[in-house]
């Protein structure tokens, strides 16, 4: 039996700029014809939830950025979603886990976190990304950890 045949591809000269992640923020009416910008089941709700600020810069948040709350008691006056987030993050938790436990899309969690970071209510521990020259000791630490499984 002969398997089907693929043809190899080459790396692109320059990696393409990834398009902006979907944002529940701006353009709730899709007025500029953009795709994938609106929130899901209830765009207005997300618009309110995320403050609707078009010029709010979102923090550089990765799926595996670890988030820890800085205060044990959430301050009054913040949104219930943010209160829930702070309660979850008594111990370090990745953004992916926060998204899963709160049942909120990653992009919404990113916006909530941006505000909490700006207010100094959480601390974020940035992920270790693949570098042009990967850190061998990091790779070895991962291998050593996997071997113990």
């Amino acid at each position: 039996m002969t398997p089907p045949q693929r043809r190899r591809r080459r790396p692109r000269e320059r990696p393409p700029e990834p398009p902006a992640p979907p944002s529940p923020l701006a353009h709730p009416e899709g007025s500029e014809g953009e795709e994938g910008r609106d929130g899901p089941r209830n765009p207005e709700r997300l618009y309110v939830l995320t403050g609707g600020g078009e010029d709010t810069d979102r923090a550089e948040v990765d799926l595996v950025t670890l988030v820890v709350a800085r205060a044990a008691v959430p301050p009054p006056g913040i949104q219930p979603e943010q209160t829930a987030l702070l309660r979850l993050c008594g111990t370090p938790l990745s953004v992916a886990e926060i998204s899963a436990y709160l049942h909120l899309p990653f992009s919404v969690v990113t916006v909530l976190l941006t505000e909490l970071l700006a207010a100094g209510l959480v601390r974020a521990r940035a992920p270790i990304a693949r570098q042009a020259l990967p850190d061998r000791s990091l790779l070895e630490a991962v291998m050593h950890g996997l071997q113990k499984l």
Partner: protein, 206 residues
Amino acid sequence: MDFKSSDTVTGPRAGDHLPHTAQAAVKIVIVGGFGVGKTTMVGSVSEIRPLTTEETMTQAGIGVDDDYGAETKTATTVAMDFGRISLTDQLVLYLFGTPGQERFWFLWNGLFEGALGAVVLVDTRRLEAGFDVIGRLEERGVPFVVATNEFPDAPRYPVEDLRAALDLPEEIPIVRCDARRRASSRDTLMTLMRFLHSLAMTSTRS
């Protein structure tokens, strides 16, 4: 969006908390077509019950008067299952089982760019389902290994035939695995890590 009040949010179970010493996380992406066993692999090695992060993609209706834009958009919810392995007190590994279609990859910022590497899971009954995924990783320069998830009724090609069919260079590992088995999934991840390590050695020397 029905957000439950914070009192009803179910957080990590008692044993699922990371220690306060956790300082940094790395991620590996497991990518492959529908039904190839990505979630099975994540679940077999994860220390937590696999979780799901969702993102929503909306598309404007085609050929519909856009006065009613809000109603004519169709929302696609894309889900990604993931698991976690605490490697040390400080370092955590996350595994993401990712849909093979590239248009979904952008939903999660930096999913591949920040990953150590990828495992391409293929089903030898539908080998061609993995072609596009492999091509896109090559174009992006994401290091990857290929693992064939051995379903009982799947054809077993010799590795050389698979390498030729997938048009992969000699250095890219191709391994067999049983995604249901923890040891087999762990070995597949180790294969990826050894490959990444060899790449790091090569680039340091040159």
